[in-house]
């Protein structure tokens, strides 16, 4: 519905008077952005960039390698210079754009060297090299979610790639795998190093929490499979590194945030405990371990829901209650197994799912009414 229609409807419903409606309309007109114009200009820029890329790509083999390397290095140096000036003049988006471009150029530069000098190898080596060259400048100069998401995403990709390339049950392999597992907590620990740049920090923390909560919720499935003593022992070696980083993350969050205090334990410490219990302690796959696993899951998400309710964070509260509802639905299938797939079982499952959805909605509405 257009703003004018909404204002008319609100006015008709007696929510606002004519004067307020006129002031809102004037305010919106004054702050309106020429999105259509920007879209057309953006489309033009995209066409220009695609055209340039196509021309270069079509003649790629005819361009001497030296020229490719020189042009690439010049562009990288120009981007670095632009970052410098952007930061010095406090031009946030200019510096961010240049920083993102510099990070992208470093990656393409490494790929270009691989092509020219016919270097072969696993992708993680290229990503880890990129990380070593780019992470310092991104951490020092990143100011918005753009660079935060780029750094967090690439760190996850590089370390997961490195961990996936490990062969055998050696100490070094376990340490690398532990490093990949520790990345979400590492991202949560970064606020200890950075005082300002709120948006950048928020970006890192957002990625960390999404990966952490989804990862731990999925790892919770380990309760459905037996974990042998040997597997648990290997996992404890991996988790030793994770424990150190998780403690650093907890300390960093307590000192500088940005997570509010009620969420420190349920979102930083409890996921570690849940992960440890599910994967680093030997257990069978009988009803008792499964029930205990479900309790751990419910404990973690229940605590998060409670903390979110205290803080008035509606979205997080909704996600936590949703996670609990899904787990409850899975419990039904765990309890009744193949019986749940019969006609009557499916009817009951359908009713249960509708009931859970309605229950979730009711809890959420009560929360919205009572939220601080």
């Amino acid at each position: 519905m257009a703003l004018a229609d909404k204002l008319a409807a609100w006015q008709q419903a007696g929510i606002i008077d004519a004067e307020t409606a006129a002031r809102i309309a004037a305010h919106e007109d004054a702050s309106a952005r020429p999105f259509a114009l920007w879209a057309v200009i953006g489309l033009g820029c995209l066409a220009l960039a695609l055209g340039l890329i196509s021309v270069v790509a079509a003649n790629w083999t005819d361009i001497p390698d030296v020229l490719k390397l020189v042009v690439h290095f010049t562009l990288s140096a120009a981007a670095a210079l632009a970052v410098w000036f952007g930061v010095r003049r406090d031009a946030r988006w200019f510096a961010e754009g240049a920083l993102f471009l510099l990070a992208a150029l470093i990656l393409t530069g490494l790929a270009l060297h691989s092509q020219i000098y016919q270097l072969s190898g696993d992708i993680w080596k290229l990503l880890m090299t990129w990380l070593a060259l780019s992470a310092p400048v991104l951490l020092l100069a990143g100011r918005t979610r753009l660079t935060a998401y780029a750094l967090a995403g690439m760190t996850l990709w590089a370390t997961i790639g490195w961990a996936s390339a490990q062969v055998g049950e050696t100490l070094s392999a376990h340490l690398v795998e532990g490093l990949a597992m520790a990345v979400p907590w590492l991202l949560l620990a970064i606020p200890a190093l950075i005082r300002e740049r709120r948006r950048f920090i928020h970006g890192l923390v957002e990625v960390a929490l999404i990966v952490l909560l989804i990862g731990v919720s999925l790892a919770h499935m380990a309760w459905a499979d037996p974990v042998t003593g040997a597997a648990a022992s290997d996992m404890r070696v991996r988790m030793a590194l994770v424990a150190v980083v998780a403690m650093a993350a907890l300390w960093a969050q307590r000192r500088r945030g940005p997570l509010p205090q009620p969420l420190h334990l349920p979102m930083v410490a409890v996921p570690f405990v849940a992960l440890f219990l599910a994967t680093a302690l030997p257990h069978g796959d009988g009803p008792l371990p499964r029930f205990f696993g479900a309790l751990v899951f419910a404990g973690m998400w229940g605590w998060i829901a409670w903390a979110a309710a205290r803080l008035g964070w509606r979205s997080l509260f909704g996600i936590a209650i949703g996670a609990l509802a899904i787990r409850l639905f899975i419990v039904y299938f765990e309890l009744f197994g193949s019986l749940a797939m019969t006609g009557a079982g499916l009817i009951f499952a359908g009713v249960l799912l509708i009931g859970l959805a309605l229950g979730w909605r009711r809890i959420f509405q009560t929360f919205r009414r009572n939220a601080p």
Partner: protein, 178 residues
């Protein structure tokens, strides 16, 4: 923000890129040029662009089955630029002066066991199959594909001191007769 720290962080990727080029160029400047006979097959791929998959057509001495798990050394037996002969050594053995690091060269290695003959087909001795990919431009690909099918070909390569083979050009082994 600490000014000198930011300068250092900005210079780090530039120094890294420059060092990467410097190291490779220095490696190539000390590399030896070899000419290696190759056979080609399976040219071009719609997903990966235009390329020739080539196989080295070496005269091999030593037991190819030593390479079954990649646990062997492949040593060039001739002096540069003769890259037509290789010797296979098992591990552990002393490194050879002109060893090919097939993994770092992006090559694929198979030790194909001997096959016993049948009524229709003669048996084959064990052999070493080392293959790689040579990328081509779209315009060169059709001519190269035909040339590979009709003419014996050689790959001009550089062998670096670390044992990496760097392809230079794929050409006919002898100039075409007039």
């Amino acid at each position: 923000m600490n000014r000198s720290l930011l300068i250092a962080a900005l210079l780090l990727p530039l120094a890294g890129l420059a060092a990467s080029v410097g190291i490779r160029e220095s490696e190539l400047s000390r590399a030896e040029q070899y000419v290696m006979p190759v056979t080609g097959f399976d040219p071009r791929d719609v997903l990966r662009g235009h390329y020739i998959r080539y196989r080295y057509d070496w005269q091999v001495s030593g037991d190819p089955l030593w390479c079954r798990d990649g646990a062997c050394r492949i040593c060039l037996a001739g002096d540069a630029p003769d890259g037509s002969r290789v010797e296979i050594r098992d591990l552990p053995s002393a490194p050879c002066p002109k060893e090919i690091d097939w993994q770092a060269s992006g090559l694929t290695l198979y030790a194909v066991p001997a096959t016993s003959g049948t009524a229709d087909e003669a048996g084959q001795p064990a052999r070493l199959d080392v293959s790689g990919i040579f990328y081509l431009s779209e315009s060169d690909a059709p001519a190269m594909e035909q040339q590979m099918a009709e003419t014996p070909m050689v790959m001009n390569v550089l062998l670096t001191s670390s044992g990496r083979l760097v392809n230079q050009s794929l050409i006919p082994s002898a100039p075409p007769s007039r």
